[in-house]
Every structure is written in structure tokens, then in C-alpha cells.
Symmetry: C5
Subunit: 371 residues, 5 copies
């Protein structure tokens, strides 16, 4: 993201309902495990399946039909990457699941959006769930999408909630032929996909950092109740980010330490790099969270200070004029015998006394630093 | 729960006494361990015992008398599930306990409501205590009930405080014959029961999320002292949920890692799934708790802001009219010699000066963004 | 404790000095370890020693003189329970200590009140320190007393600061002959004593829960500065409870996992039960602590709200009458030429205008929800 | 410390600069390790070296010159305790260091005040750093001094920043001949020194507890801004104490678990006792810290309450008299036609109405509990 | 840093944008791992390479060209230290990387500023990332720079973002010939470099401690909204420090515990010393952070207190003069029949009554400690 073109906070982003913060609602209690239920939002676009098959020499890339036979891809020699955009076609998930012999619970989790990031090691494959946060630069909003990645010997399956992802760079490297990626196995491709998702978190964090800076400026210059609401909403946004990134450390660590033959030793050093990045992301997210908390303190102190300002004005005005008004009231009384009233210089003298009183009070307030 | 029909907060729910938060009062100090004492609320309904016996082929389902002989069920070939609704019949607990050779402490814990979720491994059986939170959609209140589950070779015993549970789906799957559940052992049935309870927590959390959203709207639009009381009570409710879900992780983890022959290896992957869900529940409950804390901050800032608004009105009114009143007071004095009083245009001139002063103050306040 | 008869907070309880919170002052720095120094409060009652000796058949129970020879009790066949009420007789402690060959540091700790709960395993005996919290229903105050328990092969020694304890139920079970306790060893008796103390914590917690409920009601209905002081003091009380219960988990856990032949395997399951209870106590104490913290937030928000109420009244009164007074002041001026003064309907007209102004302001305040 | 003679807070104690809180500034970056640099405050007193040599039979005690040869003490048969008061004589440290073959880093740390408590195990000796907090009863201030203790086979070296310590009791026991200390080795002597320092923390904590009580009383009775400053400073003092005691647990634990032949098995039980005490000290310090935090809450609520009181007085005065003044203003107007002015009973009637209005407002305020 | 010449807070330091707090933005998502991208700020100075080669006898020191061949340095006998100032010459990094056979990910991390401190152990070398905080005494600002150190058999490579470091002392020791450093290997040199960086943190912390003291004084004497902003900014600065020092413990610990033959056993004791220092730095940073939090509390209480002061003045002025003005208003009314008006001594009597009322109120306020 180019930091020179500040992105504005979209209204949508800042009115996220609390329910979305949780994003964790499984099936109907008591239903059989392995029952496939799509729990994401309704979608109008069709489900798209995209295939990339390659080895060091060749590369084949095409769209597949959702009712294709996936059996052949499970058994071929080349490295097969099948990417599915859209999770609401349960038959497709079942077909792919049975072709690659995925456990029913894995199939269930694939379409069951709202999962917490995790990695599960099975005998023949790894199952990884991640949350992909993407920044829609058009509407300046952050999208929170579940990504399921399954990788085994010779294949990688990826399931996204929607079309559009952060993997363009990976695809380009595969197409480019010269890169390391064409000579390595499925574990390396899976690593590359995970790495791209993790690296993109930094963009999201930078986006939030910019929001925080805008809000900080607002708090310092012209805080309103609306500022507080925006801080509140931003804090809730940070909860979403934290829930996405917090389990990542554990996930990356589990991949680093696995002894499965599916993960090549040479890939280990790259996974360690991903682990480092996740630690950095978590660390930065924590820092950002604390900065937002600090903003709230700053806002409250700012409100208190303005209250002080208001009270000072009131106190100065009232303290100066109320005693003077009293004096004027004295000489507005209608007693028959008020000797001062007859003295010719009494009126200017009183005005003079009033001026001295006002001046005295002004000096008093000045000394207290109220002016 | 259908999210389109918002559930209202029942008065009952929000006036839970603090004592109920604890729900942890064991027997009279010094009493012998294994002394059965029912510590739940008084009940008027009779205790009901329900039996389901099945194997892959057959299924038998019937109500049992509370004074039945349970000896036969402990020794038959088919998988036996005895469910007890109501814990106040101590003789029944003793009879079942001695038929299935349960340790006196297990019997004590079964009727001793207010237990913390836990799992205990004995040689011949596992003893699991859970808290079942159910949403009574009629009264929109959450019920907090202790569930004791004992499972050993060929039998599952479940003890509920009240009739009504979240296991209808499990029963349907058993009756349906075709499901995996008919071919598996007692460990799988126990897993299914625990799974249903854990999955239902998501509904409870969604219920609370809706409450939080309603309260958030109230804080933003028209916060009153009553709003604060409701936030306070909701926070206490969250304590109850947290105490129910927090120990679950440990519990699920203990079941996953057990090496007892009573838990089939094939069930392990399902228990790991339950573990994942408990982690998600705990995680979501924590997030919700933080959102509620954020609501309180928002409320307090909102109160401060309204104070500021009130003070501004007072200050503006007082600052404009007090000096003017003073001026009027000056010319209401009865000094004999006040030359201005005789000047014909003095009155309109003074009114003009007053207008200018008022305007000046208005501009001053406008500049300070008080208007 | 019968929850239907609410216990009032004793003045004493709520004016506990901070020094008592610590209760942890050992001997003069540099003194030799094993130097017996009684650090508790001064006592006027004499020290009492009580003996219960029993096996499955017989039971002997009598008071002992403080200068008795304890050598014989250390070597007899029956299970010997010597209970000491009062720790200020250092010779007695030395006599018992040397008869049962207790380490000098154990003897020192026995009379050294203010210990943190702990368990120490020696070759021939276990040394357990607990804090017994008892509720004095007469004065409605909580007493915090150190209990030292030593158990070895064939004997249990218990040392209390004062007469009066929660062990009546245990004594009754011993006297009752039929119970399990008569057939088991010293480890089981020690378990029974610890269990009684732990179980009694629930009563203490219930007592505090009631205090919290009373305070909650007070905060909601008529909070005063005194309410805040009581919340403050209650929070300090909770520190005492927490310091008593927090180390219990570790203590119970150490007893559960010991491999000493002094603890029978059959006693293990009972100790695990104690462990469960300590976890529950700690958990409940934590919840209570958070509820008290919540009370403080509620109190502060309530104070802010009352401030708002006060400010509203002031603002409404001042905003309505200050402008009207100004108007009256205008027509109280003594200018010679004020044409309005001569118009016959000017006075009622002005009164009308004043009424309209007041009404307008009332509507303005009504719209802002200040009325 | 005699608790009946309350110690007053010294001005010095409460104006500790923040820099002193840290007390952790090592040598110039890039300097060679093992470079001896004294980092403590400047001292005017000379460095004093004191020797005690003893075995079960004999005892020799004398002052040494700082340029003495220490070689002989490293090799004699009797137990040698060399105590150094004052760390600014670097040659002395080097001389002792080379006589007892101490690692250059140990020598560096000995004179490098501001160390965190730690224990380091070398082949031939242990190196222990502690912080000795002493209460200067004359000036009622707490002194924070670094103590380095080295003990090996047959010798103990102790290095203090200043003369004056808490080891008088230990010296008396050595001189007394009858005690256990004369028959044990260097490890036991080191234990005794550490034990005395740890035990003295309880006195310091009691001193702070008294300060807290004084402040608590002040907050409840007559809180001023100065009270807040004192609470603030006390909280900073607690940071110092916490930094001194927090690492102690780890330190004591390391000594308990060491397998070095330098630590006799019989000393283990005494070290475990020290460990218990450190846990208690840490525990008590934490409690005290929370009490101080509670004081701050209490102070803030007290300030809010006083604000409420002030606002009530203002509101009552203004609300009663502003409307009355308006009424008086009405009848002070100079309209020619104001029929009420001519009615003879109008004046007393108006006074009556005013009285009723004032009474009504008083009742209104009474009902709101403002009076 | 000489503490007698207080350093002022530079404006720059206190206006650090939030984005800089994170400093953790890796490459474009999806890019191949090992892609070298310089992520630091733009630089105008040229990249400088500096070589020191030495053994016990000889020393050679010279600048290298950035297009030099580094192959020779990787294979010579003497210890080679190559220091690079400036990371924006990617070809240079590649050239050095391939000469010393560094893993592509190491090369990437070297130029990728914004890394979290870490240590990575490879077969032939260690890769250490640190953050060097330096105090620019000219502008009184803190610079946060990434330092990459690679050390293997016979060579140490160091990469800095900018010229200027804290290693002058190390260079002097190397040049001095007599020191230990000339006789030890690459591990000791790397230790010396890390040690210098860690030791310099203490200066940074002292710098912040001084800032805190200045702010504390400001809060106590004349707090303004600007004070709050400075506290806020200082707190954010502390986040930067914490992120630099927090991972250090782990880093130092990993170096202490490594079993690689690259780290000599004799170096272990020095690394343990570094570990001790990192623990102290982390500890001091935490304390400082808490002190800053305390400052914020102090500030808020100070604002509340000033509000109280303002309100008191207002209340006293209004409470005294509003009733008096009312009295004056009474006798300014124009009723025809007001008997008091004719009494000759009525006017002085009224003045007397007014004086008594004012005095009474003053006494009332005095009693409430408002004066």
C-alpha cells in the first residue's frame, strides 16, 4: 500500500456488528460430526475451481468444472494445485474430499467458515486453516475470509470464501519457471501460500496504523463524541485482527517442529521464517492495541481538560460580574435614607471601585493561570 | 437460533444474585466424603429415568422406574445409555452407583450441583462433569445446569438437573440407524453428548453478542444509569459463562491425551475436534468479555461528554446574560447625579452596546466550537 | 450457614488495618533458625491439649496436661490424634516436637503464625500449614487462624491458634465407629481435617457473596462515600481470602502427587477430591474479586451520573431565570427617555414574552432529555 | 520495629528521583568485560575490612588493613568470613578476587552496584547478589544497598556498599559458640547471612504497611492533592521493593536445587525455609502493591464525591435565589402601569410567595437527598 | 551520559508517527523468499565497508570498496571483522552473502530493516539481529537502527543502517593488543559487539528516566493538556524500547545454551553476563513503563483537583453574592407600601444583615475546608 495516498476509514468498516467479532458458530448441536454445513454469508457468484499442474519442465493451468472428476488429480506425477473460490457448493467439497481421501471432519471444517487458525497433521496430508485479511482499496474496507489449505504428497488444495486473494505473486513465480518453487514439492508451495497470507497482515496492520494516526490527530485537535465511537470501533477491529493472528504462532511452530516426511527438511528454514513473521505480526498487533488504548486515555483526558476550560470561563464571568451586580443592586434600593445617593461624586466613585474590583479578580485569576 | 428474531433480555437474567455466580457450595464441613447431599434448587417435578439400548441391529428405548434394578444393564451386550433427569432422588443415584460400581466420591459429585467442569479417569470408567447452558426461548433466559456423564465399557450414564437438554440431535442419530453412532462404542456416544453441549455454547455466545449489540446501540443513542446497570449485570453473566467454558480446554485436552483402552483411537480425532471447539468457545467468550469492558469505557466517556454539553449551555447562558444584567443594574441605581440618565439617546445606545457584547460573546463561543 | 438469615457486616471486619493483610512477620533478622518465637496476638485463655486415640475397635478421648510426657504417644499401636489449642506455650511445642522428632524448623513454623499455606515432606512425616477462616456468627466476623498439621505413621498432630474449629464433624465420625475413618490410617485422618477446612471456605465465600450483594444494592439505590469505603475494605478482605486460598492448589497437588509410603494409594482419590475443591474455591474467590472490582466501576459511574443530575438542575434553573432577570433589569433602569415604560400594555406584554421565553427553554431542555 | 511508635515518612524517602528506581547502569558500552568500575554514590568514609575466623573450638575476630595479603585466608583450615564495608576501593576487590581466584566478571559485579539479585554457580564457589533494604530509624528512611556474597570451601566473602547491616544476630550466634553455626560449613554461614537479609524485608514491608495505613486514613479524612503525590511516591517505592524481592524466589530456588558439593545436604532444609520466606515476602509485597492501587481508586472517588458536594451547594444556592431575584426584579421595573404596585398587601403577599417557593425547592432538594 | 547536563526532549522524538512504532513491514506478499528488498528510509550517504583483520600479533585495518571481492576474507587465517554502514546496496549484500555462503533468507533479513531481535543458528554460522538504540546528544533524539551480525569460524560480519555506532570501545580494545579480545575467536568478538549494544540500552533508559522526571515535575507543578500529550508520546516511545529489549532475553538465553562448536565454552560465562544485563534492561524498562502509567494517573487526578479548585471559587462567589443580590432586589421593588423603606436606620441595618450573612457563609466554607 502506498503510504502517500492515505486511505479513509469506510463507514462499513467502523460499524461492524459485535456478532461478526466472534465468527465462530458451528453446526446445530447434536448433528453428526462430518455433516457439511456452509455457514458463511450468502453468495451470488458461482463457485470457481482453478487448476495449476506443474513440474520443473511443464505447466498446465485451467479452470475446472465443479462437477469434474477429481480422482485423476490425486494420482498424477506432477504437482497439482487446485484452488476453489466459494465454499457453498457442498457437493464439490465432498467430491474433492473423497478423491483426496480427506477425513469427514476436515471436509466439515473446510466449508465451516468462522474457524480459528489451526494446523492438523494427518497421516497423508496436513490441514491448515488461516484467516486471510485483505484490504479492498476501492472501498477502503478490510475483508476477513477463511482459507483452508490441504497439502499432501504431490498436491495442494486451497479453499477460499470468495474470489480474489493475495497469491498473485505466488502464481507469477510458478509461471516464471526459473524460481525455486518449480523444483520443490507440495510442502514448499503450501509454505508459499501461507507466507503470502502472513506477509499481507503487515499491510493490514499498516492500514490500521494509519487509521490510528488519523484518530490521534483528531483527538489532539478536535475530539468529539464521534471520535470516541471511532476509537471504540477501531478497538473492536483490533480484536478481529488479534483473533486472526494470535493462533498463528502456535500454527507456524507446529509446522516447524513436525517430523512428518511430507515436510522436507529444506522447507524447515522457510517455515522458521514464517514463524518469525508471525511473531512479528502478533507483536505489532499487540503494540497497536496498546496504542489504541492509549488513545482512549488521551481522549478522556482531553474531555476533562475541555471541561476545565468551560468551567474556567463560567467561573471568571460569574465571579467578576456577580459581586458587581450586587453593588449595583445596593444602590438601586429605594430606601428613603441612603446618604450616598445624594453625593455628587458617588456615582463615578462607585464605578471606579467596581473597576478596581474587576481588575483585582482578573489579577487573581491570572495568578492561578486561568487566563 | 435464528438471528433475524432478536431475543430480548429477560428481567430475570439481568437480576441474577451474586451468590449464583459462585455456584460452588459443597457439603457441611467435616461430613464424611461420599455422603450424598443434593445441593441444587428444590424441584416439584418427579425424577425421570430414560433408557436407550442399542447395537448395530436393534434399538430399545423406554422409561425406567426410579426403583428399578440397574444391575442387569451393567452387564448386557448392547450399548446402554441411561439418562436421569433430576438429581434429588439420592436412592436412585446410590442404586445406579452400586450397579455400575461407581466410587462414592463420584456418586457424591453427581448430585452435588455447582461442580466445576472436570474429567476424572478411573480404572473402569470416565467421569465427566460439564455445565449445560441452555437458552429458554420462551422466557429468553439462560439456564445453567450441571451435567454428569459416566462412561465405561458398554454403557453411558448421564445425569441432568432438569428435564430438557440439547441432545435431541444425538437421539435422532441413534434412532436413525444409518449413522456412524450405531456402530461405535460408549466412548463415541459420550463424545457425541459432550460435543452437543459444547456446540450449544456458540448459541449462548450469540445470544450474549446480541445483548451486547443492543446495549451498544443504547450507549451510543440514549445512555442512562439503567444502561450502566445492564452492562454491569451482563458482565456478571459473562463470569458465569467463563466459569463454565474456561475449564473445558483442559477437560477436552485430558480426553484427547488419555491412554485408557476405554477410548478408541478412532474417537481421538473427534475428541480433538471437540478440543478445537472448546478453544474457539473460550476465545470467543474472552473477546465478548473485552467488548463488554469496552462498552463500559464508552458509557463513561458518553457521560463525560453529556456533562460537557450541559456545562456549555450553562456557561453560554450565564456568560452572556450576567454582564448584561450588571449593565442594566448600573442604570437602575438611584444616584441623584448620573448624567447618562438624562441623555435622550442613552437608552437605545445602551441596548446597542448590549447587543454588541452579546454578539461578541457568541462569536467567542463559536470560535471555541461550543456552539 | 443458613442463607435466609442475612449476616450483617461487622464494624470490626471492615476496619481491618492494612498490617493484618500481610500477616507474615518472621523472627528477628539474624536469629538462629529453629528459634521458637510465638508471633500471634496475646491470649488470656490457657493452652489446651486434647487426645483422641483409636483403632477399629476402641476409642479413648481425654484432655492432656501441657506438661505431660508425649513420648508414649509416639510409639503406641493405635492411631493418635493430639490437638493443641493455643500456640503460646513454647515448652509444650518443644516437648511434642522432641517426642515425635520434628525438625527444629517445623517446630519454629508451628508457633510462628502468619505462615503461607504449604506442605513439606520429611522422611517420617508430612508438615502441612493451612489458614482456617471461620465465621463467628455471633459477631458476624471472619477469623483468620493458622493451623499446623503434622502426620506420620500412626499419629496426627494439629496446632490451632485458638479453641474452636471446623472439625466437629470429623470428631463425630471418629466417635461414630461405623465410618471409614476408623479403619484408615493417619493419612486419611489428616485428609479429613484438611478437607473440613477447605470445605468451610465455601461458607466464607458465601458470606462475602452476601456482603457483595448488600453493597451492590446500596450502590444501585443510595451510594454514599461510605459505600465506597466499604467496597474498599471488602476488596482488602478479599486479599486476605486470596492469600489463604491461592497456595492451596499447589499444596493439594503436592499431596496428590507424593510418592511417600506415608500416604496410602486409596487416600489418593480423596486427596484429588480436595484438590478439586481447592480449584473451585480459588476460582470462586477470583470471580468474587472481579465482582467487587465491577462494583467500584458501578459506584464511580453512579457518582458521575448524580453529578450530571445536579448539573442539569442548576443549568435549567440558571438558564431560564438569568435571561428573564436581565429583561426585568432593563425595565428597572432609570433613563429619562424609555418610551416602552409609558405604554399601558407594555407590562403584561413583557410578562407574556417572558413566559414564551421560559417555555421555549423548557422545550429545548425537554428535547435534550434533560427533563 | 516496634509498631507502637509509628514511624513518619521522611521527606527524602518520598522524593526519590525516578532514576534511582532503575539503579541498573553498567559500565561504558564497549569496555572490556571484567573492568572494575565502582558505580555507587561517592563516599567519604574509609573502606573497612573485618575478619572472623572460627572452628568449633576457637574464634578469632579482627579488622584487616585494605592492603593486607589475603592469600593466607584462602588456604587455612578454619572457616573464614571476610566482610568488606564500602566498594570504592577497587584494588582491595582485585586483591581479594585474585586471592580467592574469583572470575573477573564476579569481581566486576561485586563493585558494580545496581545489580539485580541473582545466584551464579562456579566450580569452586557460589556468587550471590542481593539487595539489603534497611530501615534507618533515625531518619525513618529506607536504604537500598547491594550485597555481594561469595562462598566456597572454607570461606565466605561479603561485600556491602556501606557500614551497617542486619547481621548482628549472626555475629552474636558465631561468638556464642553453642549454636549450630559453629559446627557447620561455609554454606550454612552463607545461608544465615541470606536468611537475615530476607527476614529483614518483613520489617520493611511492615514499615510500608504503616505508611499505607497513614495514607489510607488521610484519604478517608482529609484528602488533598498532596495525598495523591504521596500515594504516587509510595507506589514508586513499592517498585523498588518489588525489584529487590521479585528475583529472590528464583535465587532461593536455584540454591535449593543445586547439586554442587559445596552445599551440604543438611543445609538444604534451611535453604527451603529461606525459599518459603521469599515466597511470603513476594506475596506480601504484591498484596501491598494492590492495596496502594486501591488507595488511588479511593482517592479519586473521594475527589469526585467532594466535587459533588461542592456542586450541590452551588446548585441549591443558585436554584433558590435566582428565581426569587427574578421576581424582585419584576417589581423593580419602572412601567407606569403596573397595577400590583398599588395594592397595599401586595408586598407581604409577594414575600409570602417567595417563602413558599424557597420552601418548595428545599423540599425538592431534600427528596433528592441533597441536603 | 553525564547526568548533570539534563538533555531536553527534542520535538522530533515526541512526534514519532504510530507507523514507526511498528517498524515491521516485510516484502510484497507472494514475492519469492530470499528476494532482497531494502525497506529502510532513503539515504544520501554512500555505503561504507570497513575491515579489521587481526590475530594475536598483527592488526590490519582499512576501508574496502563496495565492489571488492570478499572471497579472500572468508578463507584467511586471521580473524576478520567486516562492518557495513548502510544497507541500501543490495549487490554488496549479495556479494558478501555468497562469499560467506549465507542462506538467501539471511541475506534478505540483513537488508530488511524492521526485524525483531532474534538469533538463528545455522551449521556454519550464527545470525543475530539486534536493534541498536543510540542517543544523538546533538539533537537529543533516540535513533532506532537494525544491526545484523553474522559470525562463523574466523569471521564476524556486521551490518548497520547508518554510520555511527556504540562499538568504539570494542575497536579500541582490538587495537590495544593487550586485551583478552585479541586472543579469542569470532564468538568472543560477536559477544563484545552484542554486549556493547546491550550496555548502551542503559544510557537510553537513563535518558528516558530523565524525561520522566521532567514530566513528573511538570505534572506536579503546572500540568497542561500539552503535558498529557508528552506523557502519551513518551509512553509510545517506551513501546519502541520494549519491542527492542523484550526479545533480548530469549536471544541471550539461546546463545548461552547453544551447543554449537562455534561458541567456545569460555565465552559461555560472558554470554551469561550479557543475559543478566538483558534481564536487567527488560526489568528496568518495565519499571519505567509503570512509572509513566503512574504519571498519567497523577495527571488525571491533578486535572480533577484543579476542577475542584475552580468549582470552589465559583461556588463561594455565587453562594455569597446571589442571596445578597436578592435582598438588594427586594428593596429595589417599587411597591407603594413597603414600610421598611421609610425607616431611617433600615439601610444601615440591611447592610449589617448582609455582612453577617456573608460572614456566616464564609465560616461555613471555612469549616468545609474550601478556603
Amino acid at each position: 500500500m502506498d503510504s502517500s495516498s492515505p486511505v479513509k476509514v469506510a463507514g462499513d468498516l467502523l460499524s461492524l456488528p459485535v456478532r461478526n467479532l466472534l465468527r465462530a458458530f458451528p453446526k446445530k448441536p447434536g448433528a453428526a460430526p462430518g455433516t457439511l454445513v456452509y455457514t458463511g454469508p450468502e453468495r451470488s457468484e458461482p463457485v470457481a475451481v482453478h487448476l495449476i499442474e506443474y513440474d520443473e519442465e511443464d505447466l498446465e493451468e485451467r479452470a475446472l468444472r465443479t462437477d469434474a472428476s477429481f480422482q485423476e488429480f490425486a494420482a498424477n506425477d506432477r504437482l497439482t494445485w487446485i484452488n476453489v473460490d466459494g465454499l457453498d457448493d457442498l457437493d464439490l467439497t465432498r467430491a474433492i474430499g473423497s478423491a483426496f481421501q480427506l477425513h469427514p471432519l476436515v471436509q466439515e471444517d473446510l466449508v465451516h467458515t468462522g474457524q480459528r487458525p489451526k494446523v492438523e497433521e494427518y497421516d497423508d496430508y496436513f490441514f491448515v486453516v488461516l484467516r486471510m485479511l485483505t484490504l479492498d482499496t476501492a472501498t477502503s474496507s478490510v475483508k476477513n475470509e477463511q482459507i483452508g489449505i490441504v497439502f499432501g504428497k504431490g498436491y495442494v488444495l486451497s479453499f477460499q470464501e470468495r474470489a480474489g486473494d493475495v497469491w498473485q505473486g505466488v502464481r507469477d513465480r510458478i509461471r516464471g519457471k526459473s524460481g525455486r518453487i518449480r523444483t520443490r514439492g507440495a510442502d514448499y508451495l503450501a509454505y508459499a501460500l501461507i507466507d503470502a497470507i502472513v506477509d499481507n497482515y503487515f499491510n493490514i496492520l499498516e492500514f490500521f496504523a494509519e487509521q490510528v494516526e488519523l484518530l490521534e490527530e483528531e483527538v489532539l485537535e478536535s475530539p468529539t463524541q464521534d471520535t470516541m465511537h471511532r476509537i471504540h470501533k477501531l478497538r473492536q477491529e483490533m480484536f478481529v485482527v488479534r483473533r486472526a493472528v494470535w493462533p498463528l504462532r502456535e500454527l507456524a511452530n507446529a509446522l516447524v517442529r513436525t517430523e512428518s516426511p511430507l515436510v522436507d527438511e529444506g522447507t524447515g528454514v522457510f517455515l522458521r521464517d514464517v514463524y518469525d513473521h508471525t511473531v512479528q505480526v502478533v507483536d505489532a498487533a499487540e503494540t497497536l492495541r496498546e496504542v489504541v488504548s492509549g488513545l482512549m486515555d488521551l481522549y478522556l483526558s482531553s474531555v476533562s481538560n475541555r471541561m476545565n476550560e468551560i468551567m474556567k470561563v463560567l467561573t471568571i464571568m460569574a465571579s467578576i460580574f456577580i459581586p458587581l451586580t450586587f453593588l449595583a443592586g445596593i444602590y438601586g434600593m429605594n430606601f428613603e435614607r441612603m446618604p450616598e445617593l445624594g453625593i455628587p461624586w458617588a456615582y463615578p466613585a462607585l464605578l471606579g471601585i467596581m473597576g478596581v474590583m474587576a481588575l483585582g479578580l482578573l489579577i487573581f485569576f491570572k495568578r492561578r493561570d486561568w487566563l
